[in-house]
Amino acid sequence: MSTTDVTATLFEHGEVVPARRMATPMWLRAAGYWGYQYKRTWKSSIATSFLIPILYLAAMGIALGSLIDKHSHGVGGVSYLAYLAPGLLAGTSMQIGTNDMMYPVLGAIKWMRTYLAMLAGPLSVYDVLIGHLAWVATRIAIVVSIYLAVMAAFGTIFSFWAILALPVAVLTGMAFGAPMAAFAATLDKDSGFSTLYRFVIIPLFLFSGIFFPISQLPLVLQVVAYISPLFHGVSLCRDLTLGTVHPWPDLGHAAYLCLWVGVGYAVGRHTFAKRLVV
């Protein structure tokens, strides 16, 4: 059977078909869906992903910070606000990366079946995964950009290295987002999410060097902080915005973040295919 048979078209002849431009990559078509969705919800998501860290900055950085600065002259020679801000930046990225890969992934599999709609067209399961990851990375980049601008306004940026805090914060978010997507695709119910959030994400947020150096922690918790990607994202963002770059340790932090993204993605390819291609 030839594939070039002329078939009747359903549509009126003489449809105005604009000239073909280059084909859009498949994963970008998938990412486009999430972008389309976001147009409808961005206002409410600004509140959670942007307003909250600003409030943290104001309350802890300025109010609590003035107390800390008065009594102990900041942390490691910089004001508490300047110490805290890059940590919150990385922490916010982590929260977006995690949140956006929890309910949306399971929803796209089970409730709204968005992935299945995508897979009914020419997209492959890997396009679906990459498209979603790419979208979440984009969303983190948007929030981080605004956040960095606010940090500059608060006078907490001390170096041009801070430009690199943007990709690093995105990397931090995806170091959580990619494994989270891989995990969410294995679930049948969403009840695990709140447990995970309460017992993993929130403790990591509190004990990964965002609010105080992890050297204050008991050794066991220091080890835990060291294993999770957040501590590395926080340290790296802080070095970049403060301009205290230490090439080798910082490259190590970056490589470790990449490792989490890479492993998360590799496992995600597997769990997505297993869940969606049966």
Binding site: T3, T7, A8, F11, Y36, G121, P122
Partner: protein
């Protein structure tokens, strides 16, 4: 359009589709009929290149689903058993987004969307959210969405399951129009009337195999008699009474609620029933339908 040879689908030890052969020609409307769990959906999912085949060969639109899945799906419209609409977006947005998966220019999607909304009788709901729409409207939207890319092949998995009679008839009318326009339709259903209305040719599936194949008329002629007499007695008496009637006709069937007598002359058979002094609570003489074929072939009623 579709050629399958010894097609198989296994899930672990469970054989969902057991070495079936079929071809579907261009412009044809082909049905898979069978109870739930017969392997219809598994077959459909293999044809739609969503589910990998476990054995045999399959060609769809002249291509191999294993290597050309995305290319095949680009020319196919799929209406899955469960709607996958975006409930928070509007009717029109759902079409726009879906067209983007096929990389259609927005302008073209928009033009087609207008025609398809007209076709699906959803024009006045174009800017409403999908969530509050009725089941029939959602189903029509799913079909409209599957048509946005002007597919060569439209696959419908139980298109009217769960809809009320009016909604079903409207959908059938729309599908019939597509058929007249030369769209190749592949349909699964467990409704006999649906298969009779829409399919040029169909297969009856049972336990992963084809129990029969042909046009609805052929199947009725081959596997059922011209007429059927339905007799309803007091509950619990059917088995015993059926024995007294067994010699009356070539074949009979005892259902939980009635006895069916298969015969070429229903009125004569009914007269004989009365002649034997039996007085059923209700009687009906009717023409054979696909349901009778189904009973014959699978030995049981359709169960959901």
């Amino acid at each position: 359009m579709v050629e399958a040879h010894q097609l198989e689908k296994r899930f672990g030890d469970f054989v969902a589709v057991d070495k079936v052969d079929f071809t579907i020609a261009r412009g044809e409307s082909f049905g898979f009929l069978g109870p739930n769990g017969a392997g219809k959906t598994s077959t459909m999912r293999m044809i739609s290149c969503i589910s990998p085949i476990s054995g045999g060969t399959l060609r769809v639109l002249g291509q191999d689903p294993v290597t050309d899945g995305p290319a095949i799906r680009a020319r196919m419209g799929l209406v899955p058993q469960e709607d996958s609409l975006d409930l928070d977006l509007t009717v029109l947005d759902n079409l726009m987004i879906y067209g983007r998966y096929f990389d259609m220019p927005r302008k073209l999607i928009r033009q087609r969307a207008d025609q398809l909304l007209e076709f699906a009788q959803l024009t006045d709901r174009a800017h409403d959210r999908v969530d509050p729409l009725s089941g029939g409207m959602k189903r029509r939207l799913t079909i409209a969405r599957a048509l946005i890319s002007d597919p060569d092949l439209l696959i419908l998995d139980e298109p009217t399951t769960g809809l009320d009679p009016q909604a079903r008839h409207l959908l059938w009318d729309r599908l019939y129009r597509l058929k007249l326009q030369g769209v190749t339709l592949v349909i699964t259903t467990h409704y006999m009337d649906e298969a009779e209305q829409l399919c040029d040719r169909l297969v009856v599936m049972d336990k992963g195999r084809f129990a029969a194949e042909g046009s609805p008329r052929q199947l009725i002629e081959e596997h059922a008699t011209k007429e059927v007499v339905e007799l309803r007695f007091q509950p619990g008496q059917h088995e015993a009474l059926a024995e007294k009637l067994a010699d009356l006709v070539d074949r009979h069937e005892v259902l939980p609620d009635r006895i069916l007598l298969y015969t070429d002359d229903g009125d004569a058979a009914l007269a004989e029933v009365h002649g034997r002094g039996l007085s059923p609570q209700s009687t009906l003489v009717r023409r054979s339908t696909l349901e009778d074929v189904f009973l014959r072939l699978t030995g049981r009623t359709l169960v959901d």
